[in-house]
């Protein structure tokens, strides 16, 4: 779990972080020394920031000769400029582009057929209710968040009749969307679990390795995507999980794998479950697309529920960013399913110790919206309809893009576009082709070839198909 900065050791400087951070020997080096050392690390080893999925040469970090990075008076002289986040940076670049035909297929935020962001009707209704309610206050939530919201979230992912819930074996804490839930879960495991290695699929969402590394876990990968078939490398997955040390943590995308859109079948999930339980591997589900993948909330929760049904333990990170369109409100939850109510209660108390020094307690607004919707039968039903509409639109975009490529006779098998599921398609395009599409066609996407189908419309599909066709025929 070394970050780039501690490669200092390779250059003969002893990194203070390998010692106990509280040893008094640290204070013997002067502040100037430490800053010079840190500066030296940046100059000698100006390697790209830790992001195993980035192949973009623009990511290389080095101080600009014209910058006042060497301003002698600043204590921050040694801090170099970080590159933009690879995923969120796509939108930054898109915004700068003046072309009228530009297309943003970068970040996974849903767009309407008109290319506009969408706030769900049920969300607007819920917000209106909240604002009209004169008894509402803005007092601190408890550290674990809004109680009602936590209960409803657990039911949503585990099923209302889940025995784990009925037996009080689940602790659920409100967190800052999926990222926050993963981070809090990771920090908890790093402190209280005996196996500090987490296995993540290859590839996975670009932020996963950073979240878990900073949480204090050591990150390894298991094979997942097969570029040859543009599908699941199931054998590789079984082999890699099979050779993981007993007790290791395994990150699983509950549905609509990001970035590939490739999900195991139910039969394959069952095999994965059996293998993991036989090796006491600890499942950590990332559920960011419940309801968004197939259109059905229950269907998309099946893998999680299968694991919980066998009585075993697991962690689940939930996000309402996509399925309720609450992106900016940062609403999510971490559930830890334990063997017993007693364990769950102790685990919850320790989760609070992780959260309090991070941000004290979570934000109320988004959670209140979610709770309002989930507990009201009419709003809930309306939500499922709006959710299915979003999922259906995406499925239709997949079909349209596939048809458009076939119509152009674009070389290659593009059936993976309609086989993959969820918001993203892993096109199989390489970074050269991607860069070409951005330059020539103003199509913005992440350099791994991932496109967000949610950013497409019937109107823009032809342009994208043209871009892909040109990229594939220009760069074999």
């Amino acid at each position: 779990m070394r970050q780039q900065f501690t490669s200092l050791e390779a250059h003969g400087f002893e990194s203070p972080t390998t010692q106990s951070a509280f040893s008094s020997s640290i204070s013997s080096s002067s502040a100037t020394d430490r800053r010079l050392k840190a500066l030296a690390r940046h100059l000698v080893d100006a390697s790209p920031v830790m992001d195993s999925h980035s192949q973009n040469p623009n990511d290389t970090v080095s101080p600009s000769p014209t910058s006042s990075a060497f301003h002698a008076d600043s204590v921050f002289a040694h801090i170099v400029r970080a590159p933009e986040d690879p995923i969120l940076g796509v939108t930054v670049a898109y915004n700068k582009d003046p072309s009228p035909v530009k297309l943003n297929l970068g970040v996974g935020a849903y767009r309407t057929e008109e290319g506009k962001p969408l706030v769900l009707n049920v969300v607007r209704q819920a917000e209106q209710q909240l604002v009209n309610d004169r008894s509402r206050v803005k007092e601190y939530l408890p550290i674990v968040g809004l109680a009602e919201y936590n209960k409803l979230s657990a039911k949503l992912i585990l099923g209302a009749d889940s025995p784990a819930i009925q037996e009080n074996r689940v602790t659920t804490v409100q967190c800052l969307s999926g990222t926050g839930s993963l981070r809090v879960g990771g920090e908890f495991l790093a402190r209280h679990y005996h196996q500090l290695t987490i296995y993540i699929p290859l590839p996975t969402w670009g932020n996963h390795p950073k979240v878990f590394t900073l949480a204090g876990l050591s990150v390894k990968t298991y094979r997942y995507y097969d570029p040859a078939t543009r599908g699941l490398d199931f054998q590789g997955l079984l082999e890699d999980l099979g050779s993981a040390p007993s007790g290791a943590i395994v990150l699983l995308h509950a549905c609509a794998h990001n970035p590939t859109g490739v999900d195991p079948t139910i039969q394959q999930w069952e095999q994965i479950r059996q293998l993991m339980r036989s090796k006491a591997l600890l499942p950590f589900f990332d559920s960011a697309y419940q309801g968004f993948a197939s259109g059905s909330l229950d269907a998309d929760a099946q893998p999680v529920r299968m694991f919980v049904a066998d009585g075993g333990e697991c962690l689940v990170a939930q996000s309402y960013a996509k399925n309720m369109g609450l992106y900016g409100e940062r609403v999510g939850a971490l559930s830890i399913v334990c063997k017993s109510a007693d364990v769950a209660s102790r685990v919850e108390s320790q989760l609070k110790l992780v959260i309090r020094p991070m941000y004290s307690s979570p934000p109320i607004h988004g959670a209140s919206i979610v709770a309002t919707i989930l507990k009201d039968r009419n709003l809930y039903t309306e939500w499922t309809i709006e959710l299915k509409a979003m999922a259906d639109r995406i499925i239709s975009m997949r079909q349209q893009l596939f048809d458009a490529l076939r119509a152009r006779g674009t070389p290659g098998d593009w059936s993976h576009i309609i086989k993959q599921i969820g918001m993203f398609t892993f096109t199989g395009l390489n970074s050269e082709q991607v860069a070409f599409m951005t330059r020539q066609y103003h199509v913005y996407m992440t350099s791994d070839g991932r496109i967000s189908m949610a950013g497409l419309s019937s109107r823009t599909v032809p342009h994208l198909a043209d871009a892909i066709h040109a990229a594939v025929t220009s760069f074999a």
């Binding site: 100037t32 008076d73 196996q195 900016g328 940062r330 364990v343």
Partner: protein
Amino acid sequence: MSHLIASLNDLDPLSKVLTGFDLFRHSALFINKRNNHSKLICNHRPSMTSTSTMLSLASASLTASLSVHENLKGRLKLGGGSLSFKKEKANPFINTKSFSRISMVAAIKVSRFEGVTMAPPDPILGVSEAFKADNDEKKLNLGVGAYRTEELQPYVLNVVKKAENLMVERGENKEYLPIEGLAAFNKVTAELLFGASNPVIKEQRVATVQGLSGTGSLRLAAALIERYFPGAKVLISSPTWGNHKNIFNDARVPWSEYRYYDPKTVGLDFDGMIADIKAAPEGSFVLLHGCAHNPTGIDPTPEQWEKIADVIQEKNHIPFFDVAYQGFASGSLDADAGSVRLFAARGMELLVAQSYSKNLGLYAERIGAINVVCTSADAATRVKSQLKRLARPMYSNPPIHGAKIVANVVGDPTLFNEWKAEMEMMAGRIKNVRQKLYDSLTAKDKSGKDWSFILEQIGMFSFTGLNKVQSDNMTNKWHVYMTKDGRISLAGLSLAKCEYLADAIIDSFHNVS
């Protein structure tokens, strides 16, 4: 083994650590080595966590040896004695082929988190929980620093309600904010702190990143310190807000204390403060409360601030302000930013964490910011980019709602003026309550004790000088809920309850040791 763990919980902290260590060392079943980040060695937190870590280490090996538990139950001597497995007959199952099959079976039966111990309640937030559970009608919650009206009700500011109505009417979208937060918010928050015409703003030398209120902003800054100033210490006041230590511990930033509160004078130990800041290694970060020091309510005078700045400059320290009460201390937003502006005016580089929890009553929205004042715009750009790199793996981007409220209120001249008036009203109520409490104490206390510190302290809190036992008496006998360090939140006190509180304080002070 769970039997073992339950009994271990009864041991004193040191024994827990040692016996846990014994288990660790002697367990023939322990498989995994911890890396350097092991909590076994360095942990400022009560040993509960390290015990829990070690116990979970020990209990992990349990999953491979459930039968060891069966053999040892009842045979081990507990209570400080050695728990070495060496004394027991070697478990016949450990070395047999059926070992792995047992581990499969055991894995299903026992929780992986069996060794996790129950954490104690948060010393501050736990007070409100205890208060809720109390059914006595005289109960008074002076725990957490949340403003209450004279009727002791929570207060949502009128400007906040107006802003929220506007936001709903406009029907804005809920797209992700940039990692650094809402640009409009970042702009107005830096201007509020430094003044819009301040050179640091005009020269674009401030890196401002929206954070999760004060806590989240402090945490981002701590993460920046850990990464870019490895080994640098943060100096925190003694006492300080209880969560400061937790934040730096979790961020793995070493800290030490500088003298601050003088119990003899119930005032500032200024000489001690200066001496301790001077004695610290060059290039330390000095955590300063911008105004309304929490928990003491004792602030340096302007002259003292100058001297503090002098010694910080002399030692090349970096000032790190926590500004959670701008506007709440004196009632004036500008006056309360005086200390920060004094340091900035000297051309110093500094960090400032801001919170809108109290002054805009946005507690639950978690809205604040971390500001880093640099000597150049270029440095500010670079620092901001690295703050973003720390925020992304923590929560990706910050919540939008509170940021929009602040941007709408602070950025609109009409609402801003209305806010200033509400701010003065809130600060005014607290000043009145201070006066009434002082008057009640002076009238009722026949001992001649000088209670004037209540009037001299500033902000939401008063440091009463009551110790833990006396504070417990306040709660147990008088149903007055406060933190064990003797801090009371005047924001939770009404004029009507001042006399009752005075009785409680006088009783606790004189009759309880």
